[in-house]
Amino acid sequence: MSDAKKFLYVNRKAPYGTIYALESLEVVLIAAAFEQDVSLAFLDDGVFQLTRDQSTDAIGVKNFSPTFRALGDYEVTKLFVEKESLDERGLDPSDLQEIVWEDEEEDWEEKPSIRIVSRAEMADIMADQDVVLSF
């Protein structure tokens, strides 16, 4: 893993209404096979992608929010969520679904994947990447 690059996928749009959110998730799932150091960032309306209890029945598209919970299987274990974006939308971390990954090194202990970070921390996270892809 020493030559793995740090990839950050930045999600800024609401989950439905455009194809960006789903496409981003699909790219992440495909790219996960290349064993890079992958993180996801959620800011602006992108934070809505992780809200719990989504229902798409009325709009006739697939509710893909459960797929975020499979990311741990793909070794994607860092989902950074910007606190200010949550606050500006009247959302609280408890409005987000629980996403965990199993740590193979520690007897498959379940650990949370979502990390709430400030705008300043998010800037540092972005600055630290080799590749940033924005959706």
Binding site: I30, K62, T67, Y74
Partner: protein, 110 residues
């Protein structure tokens, strides 16, 4: 293309993945397996059942390495290893397994 089961026609895409996921039944799975020249054993059904549960939970047809990893955990190492799974599903454990399980082609599969 399409499959015939109990007198009804089940629509599938050009690669044989069914179009409407609700059309799936064990009879249909047997029919798809026949078309794929896969002889279904008890272990095959365990994998199919696992894949359907995975899709139900995550809305995702898993990539092969995720299938192997989870099958090892859920079904045991005897089935859950890539050699056995590839022998059971010669055209790709995830690709062919998902087809028989009535799921979409795994994301990222070509």
């Amino acid at each position: 293309m399409a499959y015939q089961v109990n007198g009804s026609t089940i629509e599938a895409d050009e690669e044989g993945y069914i179009v409407n996921l609700d059309d799936w039944s064990k009879e249909l799975a047997a029919e798809i397996a026949k078309a794929e020249s896969v002889e279904m054993t008890e272990n095959h059904w365990k994998v199919i059942d696992f894949l359907r549960k995975y899709y139900d939970e995550f809305q995702l047809a898993p990539a092969v390495r995720v299938l192997v990893k989870n099958a090892k955990k859920k079904l045991g190492a005897e089935i859950g290893n890539s050699k056995t799974l590839e022998e059971m599903f010669p055209k790709g454990a995830a690709k062919q397994g998902c087809k028989i399980a009535g799921l979409p082609k795994p994301t990222g599969c070509v």
